[in-house]
Symmetry: C2
Subunit: 220 residues, 2 copies
DNA sequence: CTGTCATTCAATAGATTTATTGAATGACAA
DNA sequence: TTGTCATTCAATAAATCTATTGAATGACAG
């Protein structure tokens, strides 16, 4: 094999990965799977795809070895193939955020009430956890909380927040987190909580990023 | 804008980046530009693309803001848009290497004589540089050496190596580097040098990775 | 000016990707 | 066995991507 044929081969192999990443629905699926394993139907529902279409996108990701699947009972659970997949997704997120003013703008427009929304870093939260002076609120869907969540966090999915507000104390600081920086649930929750007189702030980034730093997580 | 429309927007913006990455020629161009800025014609020549085709791929990369261009004299110099682009490429390389057994196999097949080829890490090389007990050999094309190279490295492009072997001393250790882990020039050079009785080893990864760690580089 | 050179643009045919549809599969339950 | 359910497969039309061609642009040199 000559050098050109060799280069074509390696860059084509690499492009097999980037081609699989080159679709908005598949990126959304990866971002979702970063929360933990999920069956096709849940993935389809969360991403507003038909089951058939979601399955087809999952095949593409699987052929590129970005996800793997395992049958459990009636369901086929998909998960990220390994840590490198999440790390690559993080690199892409950073790149998107730094290169793409539209992306930044989009997110800031949507969070237009964000002024004054306080963001606390993982290390600050750890400190508060040690002193037991904080309530940690996981606003992701309950299924994702059940797979894994930040130690001592309580589950209160975004969609139930308003009607279950009374479960939360007004006098203790609340730190809210969700799927990650591309997810707005935590922002919206903090905004609502502050409006109703709670002391709420948002955790920087989201659950998978916390877990990737080997910070304390809990599994049910 | 509802939540679904918002999600579609952000993941589509992200996919704008991954779509631009989803082509083998464009990956090869990025890998090349990691060495430093280059005009269209050089890029076309190094990647075996027609100038028109290379230009078209460069437009795609530019629209995704992965590269930027600047006119200098008669030439339009393209370069990576910023450090995040290179870091994302590194993440993809790691991912490819870990997920894709074929890629690994391809490279190892091509380097079939690699057995016994010694690889030294950047920190080991730094140590040797301090003690001045090593010759550092840059086997990339001279243009790329001229843009920037490891401190005190000498240029001896792969294609001229055999006829200029006599410029190298037999009794001092030689460390060879090239464009990066997907480039075989350094491996081939080390192999040839060892066969001819020189004491040669290869630097782990390549020049852009060295530079990204802020290790000492030199510009002509 | 006029010509040259590096690059981009526009048009296009062929290849690939995508969402949809409906049928097929294969585990489990009755 | 039969039916149900979750998922995959196969076929297809529409959309998108790609390489090639040849013309257009725009800086610079004589």
């Amino acid at each position: 094999m000559n050098i050109r044929a060799f280069k074509n081969s390696i860059y084509s192999e690499m492009a097999g990965i980037t081609k699989a990443l080159g679709n908005p629905h598949r990126l959304e699926i990866l971002d979702l799977l970063a929360q933990g394993p999920a069956p096709v139907e849940y993935i389809a529902e969360q991403t507003d795809l038909s089951v058939g279409n979601a399955s087809q996108h999952l095949q593409v990701l699987k052929n590129a070895r970005l996800v793997s699947s395992e049958r459990q009972w009636k369901y086929n659970y998909y998960r990220l193939a390994d840590q490198n997949v999440f790390e690559t997704w993080c690199a892409l997120r950073r790149l998107g955020y730094s290169q793409n003013a539209e992306l930044k703008q989009l997110m800031e427009d949507y969070r237009n009430e964000r002024n004054g929304l306080r963001i606390i870093s993982p290390s600050e939260l750890l400190e508060k956890m040690k002193n037991e002076e904080v309530i940690i609120l996981d606003v992701r869907p309950e299924q994702e909380y059940n797979i894994a969540h930040i130690e001592n966090a309580i589950s209160l999915p975004k969609k139930d927040l308003e009607k279950r507000l009374n479960e939360l104390p007004q006098d203790i600081e609340i730190v809210v987190y969700c799927r990650g920086p591309l997810c707005l649930s935590a922002d919206e929750a903090v905004s609502l909580l502050n409006k109703r007189g709670y002391k709420a702030s948002r955790l920087e980034r989201g659950f998978p990023d916390w877990a990737a730093q080997n910070l304390p997580v809990e599994t049910v």
